[in-house]
């Protein structure tokens, strides 16, 4: 490792030494190429990071299914699907909550309905707003 660092240091020194001799046209081309490379790196950074993590986690030595390893190596941009996955998870959670609410509501109304439909008084009596209000007013006035 020390040798590698030393070599890298030497190469950098040599390159820096040669900077003064680079013609202006070549310097401009190098600058343009550097900008281009940086732009591409910015776009691909998330994909490379995820693919790298996936590659490490789902490497050849692991026992994960080949399909998952294939996904990881294929470099699919999971970051792009994150908002979609979050929305799907949110909607699923909401639906489960609504489903539970529905089960409770149906149980409660079933119990009342079965008693109401079998009572001596018909449902029309309890649905007759004017009759019921009249009874209530009358009893409260007494």
């Amino acid at each position: 490792m020390n040798n590698e660092q030393h070599d890298a240091y030497r190469i950098r020194q040599v390159l820096n030494h040669g900077l003064a001799d680079i013609p202006p046209a070549a310097a401009r081309r190098l600058e343009a190429a550097r900008h281009l490379a940086l732009d591409r790196q910015k776009q691909e950074a998330p994909q490379l990071a995820l693919a790298g993590v996936g590659g490490r986690i789902l490497g050849e030595r692991t026992h994960f299914p080949a399909l998952l390893r294939g996904f990881a190596r294929s470099g699919i941009d999971f970051a792009r699907f994150k908002p979609l996955l979050a929305i799907i998870a949110l909607l699923t959670g909401m639906w489960l909550s609504f489903y539970w609410h529905s089960v409770q509501y149906v149980e409660e109304t079933e119990a009342v309905d079965s008693a109401l439909l079998t009572d001596d008084l018909p449902p029309e009596a309890f649905a007759d707003r004017e009759f019921i209000e009249w009874l209530k007013d009358d009893s409260s006035a007494q």
Binding site: Y105, V106, L117, P123
Partner: protein
């Protein structure tokens, strides 16, 4: 960004409030899975729910689920109650959701009454039904509901309430 979040929160809040206030709540309608069409019901279910055959396919999933629940309870009911359920099924099914909700709430209140008051309400309803629409309106505007009991032959349980309702002092006893 903050404004969008605030707007989103307000919309979500309004949806939640609307969902709670509506009857049946919107969340319940969304959370009820699809229920079978009439032809997919078992012969036993079709027999019990026969009065609803024509209306079944037009019902939403929630109503179908409620009726299927009632059909499950049906075999455990006494024969006279089974007859009542079948007689009242169609009319109950054709009420609006608001009417059914109101009827359920009134019924819950009614169940809290002591037995003698329940009996009085039943007698009043019978007398009320015997009146024409115009007479009902006149009674509601001018009289008390206890006057309805005077239209009926007094029974043991309501006789006391009937006597109390009479404004005239009792006549001399023979």
């Amino acid at each position: 960004m903050a404004q969008r979040r605030l707007l989103g929160s307000i919309i979500a809040g309004l949806l939640l409030v609307g969902s709670v206030l509506a009857e049946p709540p919107t969340s319940v309608l969304i959370g009820t899975p699809p229920q079978p069409e009439w032809v997919a019901l078992s012969p036993a279910q079709q027999n019990i729910l026969a009065p609803l055959a024509k209306d079944w396919n037009a019902m939403d999933s929630l109503r179908r689920k409620q009726w299927l629940g009632l059909a499950e309870r049906y075999p455990d009911m006494a024969p006279d109650k089974q007859r009542r359920v079948k007689e009242r099924m169609r009319e109950w099914g054709r009420m609006t959701p608001d009417e059914r909700t109101q009827a359920r709430n009134n019924y819950k209140d009614f169940k809290q009454l002591p037995p003698n008051q329940k009996k009085a309400v039943k007698e009043k309803w019978k007398a009320y039904l015997s009146l024409s629409a115009a007479e009902r309106q006149r009674m509601r505007e001018e009289g008390k509901s206890t006057e309805l009991l005077m239209l009926m032959p007094p029974t043991e349980t309501v006789a006391e309430e009937t006597r109390a309702a009479k404004s005239a002092p009792p006549g001399p006893s023979p």
